[in-house]
Symmetry: C2
Subunit: 369 residues, 2 copies
């Protein structure tokens, strides 16, 4: 892959990644399609929203439908009908989030959340699966420590992440696919620094910042990101894993991060909350019952062009899933538009003003909630 | 409204209705959007499928969101973002399907299925609501007897239906909206005949056959339809209420019926079953796990052009609602295409062959189930 930083504003960067299935402008937000489906959206909805890249999950896909089925389709793109780039997580995050039976240098034995059976995953298997999926960007298999891990545990996970990154790179024999390293180190600056130096010494197409935004204080999230970015090369994309609220994204772009993913916009849509340029909007709230306004008057998405808040309120009131669909369409459109505005503001030197505005309306919870 | 029969083949008719929001070619299938939403579909999905008219429900809409909210939107079309014709049921079917507190000539007191409160409905209120909704086709408020009603009860309901039809017509002071009468009479030929004569003596823009396909033998459904159609005028559209399986539609077209509605295609889609030119197809069945075929190779819908049976099987397996969405898109496309084929076959004189084929694959349950 190629990556070019076209312009900077402070630490914020305007860039472009050239991947096998197309170019991606950064900073970018990646909608999440864990089970090879961005919940409630068709690939067409995503294309119309302007999504340039989506994320899917190695661990979930290897369980269901299984690699064999996706190989039958000649890869994940054909399987799910998505023609643009895909990034796949390695399964390392599941070391953090799922019950484990055994974890050592060899790999991890999980309890399958689907049927309780044992599942073994290690760097070699993760690479093999991601190569079979045909992901444009693959992630190294890492050890993401749990949130309450102490220093020694995080240190061990960080060192294992390094050893597994070496094995991931060695096993990554493929063409037209990129491999990103993942920096761990928890909330410890020295471990973050060490992990960043270790990963960059191996050399990857890009670098992710893992193990953050998992419950720690926001100030710590930002501090750890700063510490990490300091030791990452200028000429490679930087990806903050699992952070996707508007205000967090703006803070992280300001600290030199280029890529983001989160289930947040799609999840809150299913619960009746829209993201708008004035903050969050609760469509289930009774004050929207009679509102003839669109969800966001500044938005040009299908939902905002065709439906009132009142109609969407009614759909949620009656449990009609169309309400969730229309808000998911809107929220993904909003996130993509937000990132376009972010890029434009870096280009034009107005990033600070945009950031102040977004952080303000989102930190206050939104004027309309 | 205008209605023209352009061609006939036996009793089957090719026609066109000119309604306020557009022309509708008959025989036609109307997707059902009870709560002002055809479940899981956007209006755009419906337009792309070629749907020319949809059905919605007066009783449900007057409870939620209430007429006042829809008036704020200047009618149901604006409220739900649907630009083509709408037919609304009168609430009479709910006399049959919901718990009642009182029913007499004045009207019906229902127990609201939403909050248990008392709801009063009669011909005058039903007309007032349907006029406010702005439906292209309104239905008279009728008394649809329950399936186990005896002769005397059905006779009473049929006579009340006549009196209520008179009152409905009298209360129907509006422009650009059509009013259809509803023939009742249960499974009694003499009552069907009487009801048809009574309704036609009043004079309506079209005539519905109500109270059938509610559990009676299929042969009886067809016989009662024949008895009714015999006494309906040639120059008005005939609408069979609530019947929408492919084989039933073909049988009824063959007996001179022009309009159909049913939740059947959308409901079975949500349960994993597709309608195809080879019969029903169960996408949840394990033999579809590895199938790289589209749902129906003869279908040109978004689902069939972009996804394999294997992918849709996977979505249902993982509980991803996108599977339900994609099958709903397909089933509605199938129904609209089926009706196009029906019209073409009446035009070209091949209706009998089409009917035999559809009845055969659907009566056998479908080769793929």
């Amino acid at each position: 892959m190629e990556f070019e930083v076209k312009k900077t504003f402070g630490k914020a960067r305007l860039g472009v990644m050239k991947l096998h299935h197309g170019a991606v402008e950064t900073p970018v937000f990646m909608p999440v399609g864990t089970n090879a489906s961005v919940k409630l959206l068709t690939p067409r909805d995503l294309e119309e929203a302007g999504a340039e890249i989506i994320l899917s999950n190695t661990f979930h896909l290897m369980l269901k439908p299984g690699v064999e089925i996706i190989k039958l389709h000649r890869g994940l793109h054909n399987f799910m009908g998505w023609k643009r780039p895909i990034l796949t997580d390695s399964g390392g995050f599941q070391v953090f989030s799922l019950p484990k039976i055994r974890i050592d240098d060899e790999g991890v034995v999980f309890r399958s959340p689907i049927d309780g059976s044992k599942v073994f995953l290690n760097p070699e298997i993760s690479m093999e699966v991601q190569i079979a999926l045909g992901s444009d960007i693959c992630m190294v298999f890492d050890h993401c420590p749990v949130p309450d891990a102490d220093y020694e545990e995080v240190k061990e996970a960080t060192e294992r992440t390094y050893r597994w990154a070496l094995r991931s790179k060695k096993a990554f024999k493929t063409e037209n696919q990129a491999l990103f390293g993942i920096v761990q180190g928890g909330i410890y600056p020295d471990l973050r620094r060490e992990s960043a130096l270790q990963l960059t010494s191996i050399g990857f197409d890009g670098y992710a910042i893992g193990g953050l935004s998992i419950g720690e204080e926001r100030s710590l999230t930002l501090e750890m990101t700063e510490v990490t970015v300091e030791f990452l090369p200028e000429d490679k994309p930087r990806y903050f894993m699992g952070g996707g609220s508007p205000e967090l994204i703006l803070e992280l772009v300001d600290r030199g991060v280029d890529m983001f993913d989160s289930v947040f916009p799609t999840r809150i849509a299913r619960h009746g909350t829209a993201l708008t340029w004035n903050g969050k909007l609760n469509l289930k709230a009774s004050y929207n019952k009679r509102s003839l306004e669109p969800v966001d008057e500044r938005c040009g998405c299908y939902t905002c062009k065709n439906f009132t808040r009142s109609y969407i309120h009614h759909l949620f009131d009656r449990g009609e899933v169309l309400g969730q669909i229309l808000l998911t369409i809107h929220n993904i459109n909003f996130m993509i538009s937000l990132m376009k505005e972010v890029r434009r503001s870096i280009e034009s030197g107005t990033f600070k003003e945009l950031k102040s505005k977004v952080v303000e309306v989102y930190s206050s919870g939104g004027v309309n909630v």
